[in-house]
C-alpha cells in the first residue's frame, strides 16, 4: 500500500492504478466492467444496429420508389418497416446515448467510473442479447411485422399467431432492462460521484441533461414494460387485457405504449441537446448563455413531455376537452425547447465563433430540427392532425425531429470527442462531403415526404397505385435516401481512417474548458490518477493545467490501497466528500446473469414455460453472488482521501450510492404498480362489456392476511435494523421478516387460486395481474430477507455496517405499501364488477 502522494512518482501511480483498473486481456475482455471500455462497446454496437436499420430503410425506399412495386411482398415489407423502426428507436438511439453517457459522465464529473460498474456491464449484455434475438429472428424470417408500436388487436394472438410479435415483446423488454439499469446508474452517478467541490450549481450542463433524461427514463419505460408483459400474457395465456370481446380494450395498449413513446422522443433528444450545449461554447469561445435558464427549460420539457402522449391518439374518438389538454401541452413544449435553441444561438452571437467540422454538423442540426419542431407544432393542432394522421407527413415530421434532434448532434459529437476516444486528430477530408450528402440526401428524402403525406399517402403501405400520382415524389425520396446512405458510408470510412491513421492529438485539441479533456487521450482505464478539487463552474476549467497536476497525484485519492478500486462519493448539493466508494473489479457475473435472463426469454419465446423457471432460479443465485461479493466482515476506520481529509468507506455511511439506487429503482417500480392500477381503472371505465356476466371474486380474508403479514414483515425488518444499530443481533427479526413474507406469499397464492378462470374476462385477468404483482414483490422480499439473514449470521453486519439490512428494509417497506395498494385495488375491482368478496 502506498498512501502518501509525495512518495510516489506519476509513472508508478499510473502503473499501480492500471493494475487495478485495467480490463484483463483475452477472454477476460468479457469480464469488463470499466466505463470507458463499455461506453465504447455500447457506441459501436449501437452503430452496428444503426447500419442494419439503415439497410432496412434502403429496402423500404427501394420498395416505395415506384408504384405497384413487386420488390418485396407485403409480409416481408411488414417485417422490414417494423424492424427499421424498432431497431432505430430501441437498439440505436437509446443505447447510443447510453454509450456516450457511460463513456463521458465519470470524466465530466471527475470520478473514476460510474456508480455501479457491474450494472453497466449487465446492461450492455442485456442489450446485446435482446438485440441479437431480434436480428436473428429477422434473418430467420420471423421478425415482428405489426409496426414498431405493436398496436393491438393486430399484434394480439388472433391476428398475429406466429412468434413474430413475441420476439418484439420479449426482445425489446430484455433490452429495456438495459435502459432502466442505465437510468438508475446515471442518476446515482451524477448525484453522488462528482469531484469534491463540484456543487450542483457547478455541474457541467451535460450532467444536468443526463440527470433529467435518466429520471424521464425511470418514469417513462415502466408503462411500456408493463404493457409488453400484459400483451405477452394475453398472447401466451389468453388473458384478455386488450380483447374488447372479453372486457379488454385495444386502446389500453395505445395509452401504455405512448405514455412511454412520447417522452421517448425527448429522452432521445435531450442527451443530444446536452452534447450540443457542450460543443457550442467551445466553438463559440464563450461560456453557455443562460445556464440556469436552460436547466429550468429542460425540467419543463421533461414534465411536459409526459403530457403529450394522447396526441398520437387524436383520431381514436376522444372528447374535445381531452384533446385540448394534449394539444395545449404539445404546443407548450415547443417553448422550453425553443429557449434552449435561443440560448445556443445567443452563445454563438456573444462569442468569437470558429468553424470546424462539428459546427458544420450542428448547422445541419439547427436546420433539420427546427423544421421538425415546426411540423410538430402543426401536428399538435387537432384539426391539422386529423388531416395528416397516419400519412407520410407524420413519417417526415418524426424523421426531422429524430434525425435532426439526435443523429446530426451525435455526428457532431463523434467528430468532437473522436480525439478523446482515439487520441488522434481529424483530417476532415471526408467529413465535409459526408455531411453534404447526409444533409442533402436527408432533406431530399424527407422534405418531399411531407408533400407525399399531404397528398394523402398513408404510412406503412407496401405499395400504391399509379393513379395516385405519388410516383415522382417517392422516386426522388428514394434517390435522396440512397444519397444519404452513401453519406453515412463516407462518415464511417472517415471515422475508421481517422481512428486508424490520424495524427496523434495533443490534450484538449478544441481548447474546451470541461473536465473530460483533463484526462489522457485516449483515456486510461481509471480516468483520473487523482480526483480534482473543483472551485469554479465545470465549464470554466483549464484542462491543460489540471490534467498534468491530476496525473501527478496532486488531487484526492492519488494513491492505491488494499487493492481497492476507489472513487469519492459526495454530498448531492454541496459536493463535500462524504465517503470512499469502493468499486468492484472485473467479473464475468454480469455476462452470466444476462445469459441466464436470455435463456429465460428464449424459454418464453419457444413456450417452454415450466422450463423457464430453471433460468429464473439461476438468475436469483447469480444476483445473490453479486451481492455476496461486496462488503466486509470488519469495521473500517475512516480512510485518508488526501488533502488532509478523511472519509468513511461507503458501506459504513447512511446513504451510499447503493441505497439511492434502491430508492430510485423502487420509484420506477411504483410507476409499474400505478400503471397497472390505471389500466384496471381504464378498463372498468372505458372498455366495453363491463361488468362481466360472472365476475371473479376476491377472497378478502386471505388478502387481508397478506396485507397484515407484509406490514408486519416490514416492521420486523425495521426492528432488526434498530436492534443492529443498538448493538444487538438482528437475526431473530430478520427470520421473522422472512417468515412473515412466506405467510403473505401463501395468502396471495390463495387469493390467486380463488380466481377460477382468468381468461373469461379482463376483470378476472386484471385481478390476477394485480395480485400476481403483489406476490412477485413478496417473493423478492423473501430473497432480501434471506440474504439479510445470511449476512447477519456470517458477520457482514455491525452497528456501523447496517447497509445490507437497510437496503432490504427499503424493499420490505415498499412491498408492504404495494401489497396494500394491490389488495385494495383487487377488492375494488371485484366489487366494481359485481363480484363477490368473501
Amino acid at each position: 500500500m502506498s498512501a502518501n502522494p509525495d512518495m510516489i512518482s506519476p509513472i508508478k501511480l499510473h502503473k499501480e492504478l492500471a493494475r487495478l483498473w485495467d480490463t484483463p486481456p483475452g477472454w477476460g475482455r468479457f469480464s469488463a466492467v470499466n466505463h470507458t471500455v463499455l461506453g465504447k462497446r455500447f457506441i459501436i454496437a449501437a452503430f452496428v444496429f444503426f447500419s442494419i436499420g439503415g439497410v432496412l430503410a434502403m429496402l423500404i425506399r427501394a420498395q416505395l420508389a415506384t408504384s405497384g412495386s413487386a420488390f418485396v411482398g407485403p409480409e416481408i415489407y411488414g417485417q422490414i418497416f417494423t424492424m427499421h423502426g424498432s431497431i432505430m428507436m430501441f437498439l440505436f438511439a437509446i443505447p447510443m446515448f447510453e454509450g456516450f453517457a457511460i463513456y463521458l459522465l465519470p470524466k465530466l464529473l471527475g470520478a473514476r467510473d460510474m456508480a455501479f460498474p457491474r450494472l453497466t456491464a449487465f446492461g450492455f449484455w442485456c442489450y446485446i442479447f435482446g438485440g441479437s434475438i431480434l436480428i436473428v429472428a429477422m434473418l430467420a424470417g420471423v421478425a415482428p411485422d405489426g409496426g414498431w408500436f405493436m398496436y393491438t388487436p393486430l399484434n394480439s394472438g388472433v391476428y398475429s399467431p406466429g412468434i413474430n410479435a413475441d420476439v418484439w415483446l420479449l426482445g425489446i423488454t430484455f433490452v429495456e432492462i438495459s435502459a432502466l439499469s442505465a437510468a438508475v446508474e446515471i442518476i446515482v452517478s451524477v448525484l453522488k460521484l462528482r469531484a469534491p467541490g463540484m456543487s450542483i450549481d457547478r455541474m457541467p450542463i451535460m450532467a444536468w441533461y443526463l440527470l433529467i433524461t435518466a429520471f424521464m427514463m425511470l418514469f417513462g419505460f415502466p408503462p411500456l414494460i408493463l404493457g409488453s408483459v400484459l400483451l405477452e400474457l394475453e398472447r401466451a395465456f389468453d388473458l384478455p387485457f386488450f380483447d374488447p370481446t372479453r372486457g379488454g380494450d385495444s386502446l389500453l395498449w395505445q395509452h401504455l405504449f405512448w405514455l412511454f413513446g412520447h417522452p421517448e422522443v425527448y429522452i432521445i433528444f435531450l442527451p443530444a441537446a446536452g452534447a450540443i450545449s457542450m460543443m457550442i461554447p467551445t466553438f463559440a469561445r464563450h461560456e453557455l448563455v443562460g445556464y440556469r435558464t436552460i436547466i429550468v427549460a429542460v425540467i419543463a420539457v421533461a414534465f411536459l413531455s409526459f403530457g403529450l402522449w394522447v396526441h398520437h391518439m387524436f383520431t381514436v374518438g376522444i372528447p374535445h376537452l381531452a384533446l385540448s389538454f394534449f394539444s395545449a401541452a404539445s404546443g407548450l413544449v415547443a417553448i422550453p425547447t425553443a429557449i434552449q435553441i435561443f440560448a445556443w444561438i445567443a452563445t454563438i452571437a456573444h462569442g468569437r465563433p470558429r468553424f470546424d467540422v462539428p459546427m458544420l454538423y450542428l448547422g445541419g442540426f439547427f436546420v433539420v430540427f427546427i423544421i421538425g419542431g415546426l411540423t410538430g407544432v402543426m401536428l399538435a393542432m387537432v384539426p391539422f392532425n386529423f388531416q395528416a394522421h397516419d400519412t407520410h407527413f407524420v413519417v417526415a415530421h418524426m424523421h426531422y425531429v429524430l434525425v435532426g434532434g439526435f443523429v446530426f448532434p451525435m455526428l457532431a459529437a463523434a467528430y468532437y470527442w473522436l480525439p478523446h476516444f482515439t487520441g488522434r486528430t481529424s483530417d476532415h477530408r471526408l467529413s465535409v462531403p459526408a455531411f453534404w450528402m447526409i444533409f442533402g440526401g436527408f432533406n431530399l428524402t424527407f422534405f418531399l415526404m411531407h408533400l407525399t403525406g399531404l397528398l394523402g399517402m398513408p404510412r406503412r403501405v407496401e405499395t400504391y397505385p399509379m393513379e395516385a400520382k405519388w410516383d415522382w415524389l417517392n422516386l426522388v425520396s428514394s434517390i435522396g435516401g440512397f444519397i444519404m446512405a452513401i453519406g453515412f458510408a463516407l462518415f464511417v470510412l472517415d471515422i475508421v481512417v481517422q481512428a486508424r491513421f490520424g495524427m496523434p492529438a495533443r490534450r484538449n485539441p478544441w481548447q474546451a474548458r470541461t473536465l473530460e479533456w483533463a484526462t489522457a487521450t485516449p483515456p486510461t482505464s481509471y480516468g483520473f490518477a487523482s480526483l480534482p478539487l473543483i472551485e469554479d463552474r465545470a465549464d470554466r476549467l483549464d484542462p491543460e493545467k489540471l490534467g498534468p497536476a491530476l496525473a501527478r497525484g496532486d488531487g484526492y485519492l492519488g494513491f492505491t490501497r488494499n487493492g481497492w478500486m476507489e472513487t469519492l462519493g459526495v454530498d448531492m448539493v454541496t459536493a463535500r466528500p462524504t465517503e470512499v466508494v469502493v468499486l468492484p473489479r472485473s467479473t464475468f457475473l454480469p455476462l452470466w446473469t444476462a445469459l441466464a435472463i436470455g435463456s429465460f426469454v428464449l424459454c418464453l419465446l419457444f413456450k417452454f414455460y415450466w422450463l423457464s423457471l430453471l433460468p429464473v432460479a439461476v438468475v436469483v443465485v447469480l444476483f445473490l453472488m453479486w451481492a455476496a461479493a461486496t462488503g466486509n466482515r470488519e469495521d473500517t476506520p475512516p480512510l485518508d482521501i488526501g488533502h488532509g481529509q478523511s472519509a468513511e468507506v461507503h458501506w459504513q455511511v447512511e446513504r451510499p450510492p447503493s441505497w439511492w439506487a434502491m430508492t430510485f429503482t423502487l420509484a420506477a417500480d411504483g410507476v409499474v404498480v400505478t400503471s397497472l392500477i390505471f389500466s384496471a381503472l381504464f378498463l372498468r371505465v372505458v372498455a366495453p362489456d363491463w361488468p362481466p356476466a360472472t365476475a371473479a371474486a376476491a377472497p378478502t380474508a386471505a388478502l387481508a392476511l397478506a396485507v397484515i403479514a407484509s406490514i408486519a414483515a416490514a416492521a420486523a425488518g425495521r426492528f432488526g435494523v434498530g436492534r443492529l444499530k443498538a448493538g444487538a443481533s438482528p437475526i431473530a427479526a430478520q427470520a421473522a421478516c422472512l417468515l412473515l413474507h412466506v405467510v403473505a406469499l401463501a395468502a396471495l397464492a390463495a387469493g390467486l387460486a380463488g380466481i377460477d378462470d382468468a381468461t373469461r374476462h379482463a376483470q378476472a385477468a386484471m385481478l390476477a395481474a394485480v395480485l400476481g404483482l403483489a406476490a412477485l414483490h413478496v417473493a423478492i422480499g423473501i430473497i432480501f430477507a434471506g440474504f439479510g439473514l445470511w449476512r447477519a449470521a456470517n458477520g457482514y453486519v455491525s452497528p456501523r455496517r447496517s447497509l445490507d439490512l437497510r437496503i432490504g428494509g427499503l424493499w420490505h417497506d415498499a412491498t408492504a405499501v404495494i401489497v396494500l395498494v394491490c389488495v385494495v385495488s383487487g377488492v375494488l375491482l371485484a366489487l366494481a364488477a359485481g363480484g363477490e368478496v368473501w
Binding site: 456543487s199 425540467i299 421533461a302 414534465f303 372528447p319 381531452a322 385540448s324 395545449a328 371505465v685
Partner: protein, 119 residues
C-alpha cells in the same frame, strides 16, 4: 454560502409535480365523469356536474402551483449573483414553478368551454 436543506434539490420539481398531478386528476375525472354521466347532471343553469368538478380541479391545480410559486419566491435569495448551490437551487425551483403555473393555466384553458364527452 447558505446552508442547504435536503428539500432544496427535490423542490426544483415541485411546480411541475403539481402540474402532473393536476393533469392526471383532470384527465382521469373527465373519463370517470363521462362514464358516470356527470355531463348530463345540471348543477347551476347550463353548468353540469362534470363541468363544475373539472373547473374546480383546474382552479385548484392553478391555486396550488401559484401557492408553491409564492412560497418559493419567499425562499428565493434577494440577489441572483454567486450565492452557492442552495441559492442556485432555490432560484431554479422558483422559475420552474412560475413555468408550471403558466403551463397549468394554458393546458386547462379549455376546461370551461369545450364539450367534455363524446356524444
Amino acid at each position: 454560502m447558505r446552508a442547504h436543506r435536503s428539500i432544496d434539490l427535490p423542490l426544483v420539481a415541485a411546480g411541475f409535480t403539481i402540474w402532473s398531478i393536476g393533469f392526471v386528476a383532470v384527465y382521469g375525472v373527465l373519463s370517470l365523469g363521462c362514464a358516470a354521466g356527470w355531463d348530463t347532471v345540471p348543477v347551476l343553469g347550463p353548468v353540469t356536474l362534470q363541468r363544475a368538478i373539472l373547473v374546480a380541479l383546474s382552479l385548484g391545480t392553478a391555486a396550488a402551483t401559484a401557492a408553491v410559486t409564492l412560497l418559493l419566491a419567499r425562499r428565493r435569495p434577494a440577489a441572483t449573483g454567486q450565492g452557492g448551490p442552495t441559492d442556485f437551487l432555490r432560484i431554479v425551483a422558483f422559475y420552474t414553478a412560475v413555468a408550471a403555473t403558466a403551463s397549468v393555466l394554458f393546458t386547462f384553458s379549455g376546461v370551461a368551454v369545450l364539450s367534455s364527452c363524446v356524444p
